[in-house]
């Protein structure tokens, strides 16, 4: 497979994963806005959602004051915001177009259809859909595309797509943790009392990652911050947890570049080794935690660059 096309498929997958992750952040913010404590800080989670995406400054520069509707529009359908869901779907579609000849018609239809439909969602339509309605739409479209990928030949393309998704996923986990954890851990790691604002904030972390329900399948006991973190980072089978995605990275690289011991593969192994060696209790001490999230982000970025250099631009 051509390096250029492989690279485009990789970016298509990253943008689709990013659209879905953004949608979950919107849901987290919309739900937090219904909490009673939101009366004190009605925009708290909306600004957190922007910060995770690294676009708070851009939003403020363009719009001045934060409003819930403003953030929703900016993150959902703003064509000028390069990380809006609309922009992600466009970038995914543009990348997919270069590989269209490798794709079953259904897959291309699903990707192109999502781009066509999102352009039809204007401010008025978005207001009617509401945050949750738009999130539903986005996730349904992304999942449809993911399902259509089943029809791809089991050669290079599925591995490249798996790599793109897992790198993006690892990246968003690192960024959400970096943003939310310092505040959460400042309140300590004592077990959570059901129904309290502190328990809700931890649940929001899981919501932001789309992990609320699958978390319950693995943790039956009382809610404890460290067990939630352990789940997010180290659960071996939940598809949206970090360890699974880190392992997918290595498998995917081996899949599309068999026999090549490139830098990216080494980095994937290094991330896994660091992750497994992480002492969660120590990591949750503020400084150690900060370093851990920085490392995770840096390593994921490095892996992205290495893949690009070694595999997609030879």
């Amino acid at each position: 497979m051509l390096c250029r096309i492989a690279g485009n498929c990789y970016w298509m997958a990253r943008y689709l994963e990013r659209a879905e992750n953004d949608a979950r952040l919107l849901r987290m913010a919309a739900q937090a806005a219904c909490w009673p404590e939101a009366a004190r800080d009605p925009l708290g989670m909306w600004s957190t959602a922007l910060e995770v995406g690294g676009s708070l400054d851009e939003y403020l520069a363009r719009h001045g004051a934060l409003t819930a509707d403003g953030v929703l529009r900016f993150m959902a359908i703003d064509a000028r915001n390069p990380s809006s869901i609309r922009s992600c779907l466009r970038a995914a579609r543009d990348n997919a177009r270069t590989a269209r000849h490798l794709m079953p018609d259904l897959l291309w239809d699903a990707i192109n259809g999502a781009w066509i439909e999102v352009q039809e969602i204007d401010e008025e339509r978005l207001a009617t859909l509401g945050a949750e309605g738009f999130v539903d739409w986005t996730i349904a479209r992304c999942r449809l595309i993911a399902g259509c990928c089943d029809e791809l030949w089991r050669d290079t393309v599925p591995h490249v797509i798996a790599l793109g998704r897992s790198v993006e996923r690892a990246d968003v986990i690192a960024r959400i943790l970096a943003e939310l954890l310092p505040k959460l851990l400042a309140e300590g790691t004592a077990p959570l009392t059901l129904g309290t604002p502190r328990a809700r904030r931890w649940r929001a972390l899981l919501d932001g990652l789309g992990l609320s329900d699958s978390w319950r399948r693995s943790q039956r006991g009382p809610l404890e911050p460290l067990s939630i973190l352990h789940f997010i980072l180290l659960h071996p089978t939940a598809p949206q947890c970090l360890l699974v995605n880190v392992r997918t990275m290595a498998e995917a690289i081996r899949g599309f570049a068999p026999g090549r011991e490139g830098a990216a593969l080494q980095t994937a192994r290094e991330i896994e080794a660091r992750l497994i060696a992480t002492d969660l209790t120590a990591a949750t001490r503020a400084a150690a935690l900060d370093a851990f999230c920085r490392d995770l982000t840096a390593l994921t970025n490095r892996l992205g660059l290495e893949v690009q250099r070694d595999h997609f631009s030879a």
């Binding site: 919309a30 739900q31 806005a33 219904c34 909490w35 009673p36 404590e37 939101a38 009366a39 009605p42 819930a68 509401g130 945050a131 949750e132 309605g133 059901l194 129904g195 328990a199 809700r200 649940r203 329900d213 978390w215 319950r216 399948r217 693995s218 943790q219 039956r220 006991g221 009382p222 809610l223």
Partner: protein, 472 residues
């Protein structure tokens, strides 16, 4: 109909609302009927897509139906809720003590506070449950208490549901739906969240583990996908992250319960069962039951598994025993009831029957063992012929009936075809009993959608509303 005019409306009116309803009234004034209609349609679409449907027994078509959902929330101030919550906790504590006593030492009978014949002669008294010990003495782990209101500070318990009360999934889904439809209303109030109910339920079920089991395996036992509450069974299993099983998935070996897993037999320690007593174990109860688990009761007796709720709870939520609940509260807790009972005439008593027969046109008459709003007479709404027919039933089998005054149930603004109009409501909080007794700040409100109707049951055309407990 005359009753309705005097009913207490919880909002007051849109122009002069009670304080807690003021933001809602303002919002309703600024909201078009078109928006409410669209929201109502969106809600129905959501419910249908999520499969939040129920089957109506006796409906030959077998179609799955939606319980009508009203888009206008019912609102209770924290201070109002607090009393309801305390009253429910008190009642459920007493009822659990009663069940533990009645199947144990029977002190309340020996003290003569309840006639022995009323208990032991009752078809719902289960001799199979005599002497069984349940962790923490809890028999009703999950209880639904049906409450009605007739004035700002007058609440009555209409009935206790201690067997397999359903509807809690509606409480939770109604909230999610409202958050989607009207986020701006949540910004106008500080609504207490209820999302943690499944976590609380899971903690309650863990508390029920047999002695010595620290990390119990819990399952939800459903009669299957044809059951009217099947959606709820799957919903709760998913939210708790535990398996949803049917009878044939379980097997009893050497007095222990296992589930048939791909990895082999996996032990089960706590069963949240949504199957009636009669069908639980063909060895012990109905031999023709295909829904149950042969030998289950042997495991229960051996103390290796806990059923939630316990067996034999029907004796305590039966309408004949209902009249004694205030006495149970005094006897076991030494307290006065926080929420009153509705005055009740027991037709098995000759004098009380005579009064009932004379006043049928004013009373509500219910079957002692009935539920779901089936087989009842609402005197003021009934025709002369219906009353005459019921009179014959009463004379033939007076012991099967109780009668109560027709209460002017409170009303709440409801969006119906004619616009926004008052409709009668009740309230069902869900009380969870483990090592402690809990409820989430919220409940299921059922609403009688027909003008003037007092029957809120979903099987009789009732709907539901999201119920908000708001910080004052």
């Amino acid at each position: 109909m005359a009753k309705q005019a005097s009913a207490f409306d919880e909002m007051g009116s849109i122009s002069a609302p009670r304080t807690v309803y003021a933001p809602l009234a303002r919002w309703l004034e600024g909201t078009t009927a078109q928006r409410l209609t669209t929201a109502h349609q969106d809600a129905e679409r959501l419910f249908r897509r999520r499969g939040i449907t129920f089957a109506v027994y006796g409906d030959a078509s077998g179609a799955e139906r939606l319980i009508p959902f009203d888009v206008i929330p019912r609102i209770l101030a924290c201070s109002e809720w607090e009393r309801v919550a305390r009253g429910c906790i008190q009642r459920v504590r007493a009822l659990n003590r009663f069940l533990d006593d009645i199947y144990g030492a029977q002190e309340i009978l020996r003290a003569g506070r309840i006639p022995r014949a009323e208990v032991e002669g009752n078809a719902l008294f289960r001799r199979e449950a005599l002497g069984l010990r349940w962790p923490h003495g809890v028999h009703a782990h999950i209880a639904g208490i049906d409450i009605v209101r007739t004035a700002p500070d007058r609440w009555f318990v209409l009935e206790d549901n201690l067997r397999t009360p359903s509807g809690v999934s509606y409480m939770l889904e109604n909230r999610l739906t409202m958050q989607r439809l009207f986020p701006e209303l949540f910004a106008a109030y500080r609504v207490s969240p209820i999302r943690h109910y499944p976590d609380l339920l899971l903690a309650t079920l863990r508390d029920a583990a047999p002695p010595g089991v620290d990390d119990p395996n819990i399952v939800v036992l459903t009669p299957g996908s044809l059951n009217s509450a099947y959606f709820e069974h799957g919903f709760l299993a998913a939210r708790m992250g535990v398996p949803l099983v049917e009878g044939p998935d379980l097997v009893v070996e050497r007095e222990r319960v296992y589930m048939r897993d791909t990895t082999g037999l996996v032990p089960v320690h706590v069963i949240y069962r949504r199957i009636d007593d009669d069908f639980l174990d063909p060895e012990c109860f109905r031999p023709d039951s295909l829904l149950g688990v042969p030998g289950l009761m042997r495991a229960v007796r051996a103390g290796t598994v806990t059923l939630c709720n316990a067996i034999g709870n029907g004796i305590a939520d039966d309408k004949a025993m209902y009249v004694y609940v205030p006495e149970m509260i005094r006897f076991y807790l030494g307290e006065e009831p926080i929420i009153e009972n509705v005055p009740t005439w027991r037709c098995r008593d000759r004098e009380q029957l005579a009064y009932v027969l004379e006043h049928l046109a004013e009373l509500v008459v219910k079957e002692v063992h009935g539920s779901g709003g089936y087989g009842m007479l609402v005197g003021p709404a009934a025709s002369a012929a219906e009353i005459a027919a019921f009179r014959e039933k009463l004379r033939a089998h007076p012991e099967r009936y109780i009668a109560q005054p027709t209460l002017a149930l409170s009303t709440c603004p409801t969006f119906v075809e004619q616009g926004i109009a008052p409709r009668h409501v009740d309230l069902r909080p869900y009380v969870l009993s483990g090592s402690a007794v809990h409820l989430v700040p919220g409940a299921l409100t059922r609403v009688a959608l027909r003008a003037g109707s007092l029957v809120v049951n979903s099987s009789q055309g009732g709907g539901t509303k999201d119920t908000w407990v708001v910080e004052d």
